[in-house]
Every structure is written in C-alpha cells, then in structure tokens.
C-alpha cells in the first residue's frame, strides 16, 4: 500500500499547486449554499433538516466531480509524464488507486468545508444529526463513483475537455438509470431482465435511500462496487494503451 499513498500524496499536492483547487472548493461550497437557501427554500420549509442541501448534491457532483477527475490521466498523457510514471516500479493498480484516492480526498475536503450549513441548521433547530452524517457519507460515496467513472474515462483521453464532457454524459446516464429518460432507450428492444438491471443501477435511487438516513448495506455496497469496477476498467484501459 505504500506506493499507493506515495502516488496519492503527490497527486493531492498537484491539485493544490495551482489555483484550480481553491477555485473548485469555493465554487463547490458557494453553490451548495446557494442551492440550499434559494432553490431549496431552506428557511421557508421551517424544518430542521438538510434535505434541500443534500437534494442538490447528485447534480452538484455531476458537474464538479468530472472537473476533478478529468486531469487524472489525460493531463499525464498530454504532457508525456505518464511514461515516466508507468516506468517506475509501481504496479498499474497502485497508480490507479493512488490517483483515485487523491481525487476522493479532495472532494471529501470540499464536502467537509460545507460544515457552516450543518452548524446553521443545528443553531436554528434540533435536527437528526445521524441522518445528516449518513447523508454526508452517501454524498461522498456517490462522488467517489463519479470520480471512478471519470478516472477511467480520463485514462482513455488525451484531452481533458473530452474527458470532462464524456464523463458528465456517462455519469448523467448512471444518475438517472432508474428513470424513464434512460430506461425508455432500452425498453423497446432489450429483455425485461436487462431493463430491470439497468433500472437498479441508478445513483439517485441509492443516494436518496442513504440521504434519508437509511444506511442499507446494499446501497453502500452498490457504490463501492461501482468504484471498484471502474477502477479495474481504468487499469485495463492503461494496459491496452501499452499496445500502441
């Protein structure tokens, strides 16, 4: 595991070496506040919970997580430093995991910095902090799934912009997999079993369950499996790259 942390540390420093990290965090925290208080009608609801806050997280992560993951491999491929990295005595899975963990820690830091919202709701009323904690956990898990998808796509791209746009589209499909928007594309021709499987893959369904405070092992396992599957795919994409 030591090389994994070495990679993760380097990667995390790389985020903070440029203003990008600070811009990202400010935008993330500001947008989550704006959404909660204006679009989410936090005050008008007169309920001491963070439902309006977490309700926007799937959409916030949808745009911002791909912005974090897009550079993970595409930047290295563009600059050629991927050759340096892959010729060090580090296994591909260690590099993949290290980079992913760095991105995940970064999002976790951004999430943690939304704590004033949590303080606000505790000041105003008496919310169920267990539910809030579960929702934070769910939000982090979902962001991790977005990042794993993004890391895998980034490994297949030389351009960060292409990686970003593709990731947003793929993540959007995963987010709404349980909804007609996606299901209708399969309902006409695919067998019912497949439609059901795709329907059960929706991020939103699983996240909503967790954010209500229902910490079902299956929802947690679901996100962890998505992360594992895409990180595995990420390593395969890198290995395919060795062929050309």
């Amino acid at each position: 595991m030591r090389p994994v942390w070495t990679i993760a540390r380097r990667e995390l420093r790389a985020y903070f070496a440029t203003p990008v990290a600070y811009v990202f965090i400010v935008i993330f925290v500001a947008l989550s506040g704006v959404f909660t208080f204006y679009l989410g009608n936090f005050f008008e609801r007169e309920q001491a919970d963070l439902t309006p806050f977490f309700g926007f997280h799937p959409w916030l992560h949808l745009v911002l997580a791909p912005a974090v993951s897009m550079r993970l491999w595409a930047e290295e491929r563009q600059s050629g430093s991927v050759e340096l990295l892959m010729c060090l005595p580090i296994a591909a899975w260690q590099a993949v995991l290290g980079k992913f963990l760095a991105a995940w820690c970064f999002i976790a830091a951004a999430l943690a910095l939304t704590f004033p919202t949590w303080i606000t709701v505790n000041y105003l009323g008496d919310p169920d902090n267990g539910v809030i904690l579960a929702a934070y956990f769910g939000s982090l898990l979902m962001a991790g799934a977005y990042l794993a998808i993004g890391a895998c796509i980034s490994a297949a791209c030389r351009s960060q912009v292409v990686a970003f746009v593709t990731t947003v589209v793929v993540c959007f499909a995963f987010l709404l997999a349980g909804f007609p928007l996606v299901l209708d594309a399969f309902a006409g021709w695919a067998p019912q079993v497949l439609v059901d499987v795709i329907g059960s893959l929706g991020f939103l369904t699983h996240f909503n369950a967790i954010s209500k405070g229902v910490l079902d092992a299956r929802d947690v396992l679901y996100f962890l499996l998505v992360i594992a599957a895409f990180l595995y795919a990420n390593a395969i994409v890198l290995d395919l790259g060795r062929g050309n």
Binding site: P3, T6, R10, R13, A14, A17, T18, S79, G80, S81, V82, E83, L84, M86, C87, L88, P89, I90, A91, R242, G243, N244
Partner: protein, 240 residues
Amino acid sequence: MIRADSLSKNYGAIKAVDGISFAIEPGEVVGLLGPNGAGKTTTMRMCVGYLAPTSGSVEIHGFDLATRTQAARKTFGYLPEGAPLWGEMTPRAFLDFIADVRELRGAQREARIEEVAALLQLHPVFDQRIETLSKGFRRRVGLAQAILHDPPVLLLDEPTDGLDPNQKHEVRELIRGMSSDKIVVISTHILEEVEAVCSRAIIIAAGRIVADDSPAALAARSEAGRLDEVFRSITTGRKR
C-alpha cells in the same frame, strides 16, 4: 545484463521494429543510433516495458520484463524521450517523490538526493517549479530522477537533447564517470556523442539492426575513418 530477443512492434501494417536482438553486458555503454523514425524510441520503450512488444521478449538483470515487471523496473533508471516531468513540482519535491518510490530511507536518502543534486548542479533551481525551468535544467532533473537510486542499468533516450555544448559535455562526463560496472544505453542521433562516450554502437534503420560494433571499428569501415560517412552509407543503403 540486458537481453532483447527478436523484439518486434507493429502499428497496424507498419513495422516500427522488426526483429531486434541484442545482449548487453555490465561495463558497456551502448549507443542506440539511427535516423529519426528508425525505431530507437520504440525499442527503448519496449526495453522498459512501457510498450508491449508485438512479439519477442526482454530480460533485464535476470528478470523477464513481461512476468517480473516490477522487479525488473527496480534495477533500472529511465529517462523517457523529451524528459517529461510534472511541471507543478519543484525539483526538490520531485526527487523526494522519486526517493519515496525507489524506497530510499533514512540518512542515505537525504545524502543521495543531495549528491545527485550537486552532481547535476540543480541547486540554483531546487525550489523553483519545474515548468519555469529552462530546457537544460529540465533535462538534468530528468537525469537526476533516473540515477537517484544508483541503478545498475541506465536507459537514457536522447539525454543531451536541448543542452548547450557545455551541458552536453558535463552529461557525457557524468555517463563516462559511472559506467565502469553499469550498463548504460543511450539513444541518440548525434554521432559525436557516440564517439565520445560509447563503447559499442548499435545502428538501427527501418526497425532492424544494420550494424553492431565499437564506434572505432565502425568508423574504420570508411576510407576516411569517419563515423558519419559509415552511418550515412549504412542507413541509406548508398555509398557516400
């Protein structure tokens, strides 16, 4: 010891490398020579396992590259073509990272970073971001990375490209100075470099080895005793 056994690499219908074999013993400084596009970099990349060969195998220091990849990688230092680096890091942070990856520990670690930085004269820019450095400094940071763990095998792809004459001289001195018990393979198209540092020259053209001999013996093949004439006649298939 590096052993390449009938290495080939196809890109679709194009044969970039076509059945290259060689064995290199400790103490040898080998120049991989050839015109641009001859397959030098492709060969180099297959020797470090960055590219998977279409067929053939590579063995470094007794480790088969395909099956014992990580063990093999611990035994060599590699400078990729163009010396790519992470621009947002400083040379200090970069060498620190490499030292972590190379598992250098304790007092030896600091001493070695210091030693390499002094050897390649990196101190004036040690705390500047790499992306702000001149080409010469970047190349030397790349070299520092390759030699940091004092590997028995060094593979350097165009190590003096972009350096001024003084820096070229220093890098050549550096290579000469450490080659007594090591294997050094440099890829280059600068013939004077081969004559200056190499004990053996492997000339590649169109993906095949067309000559493999000491630079002096190769030069002696021309009437005037000039390596460039021999190189030209071998790689173009024309007599002067």
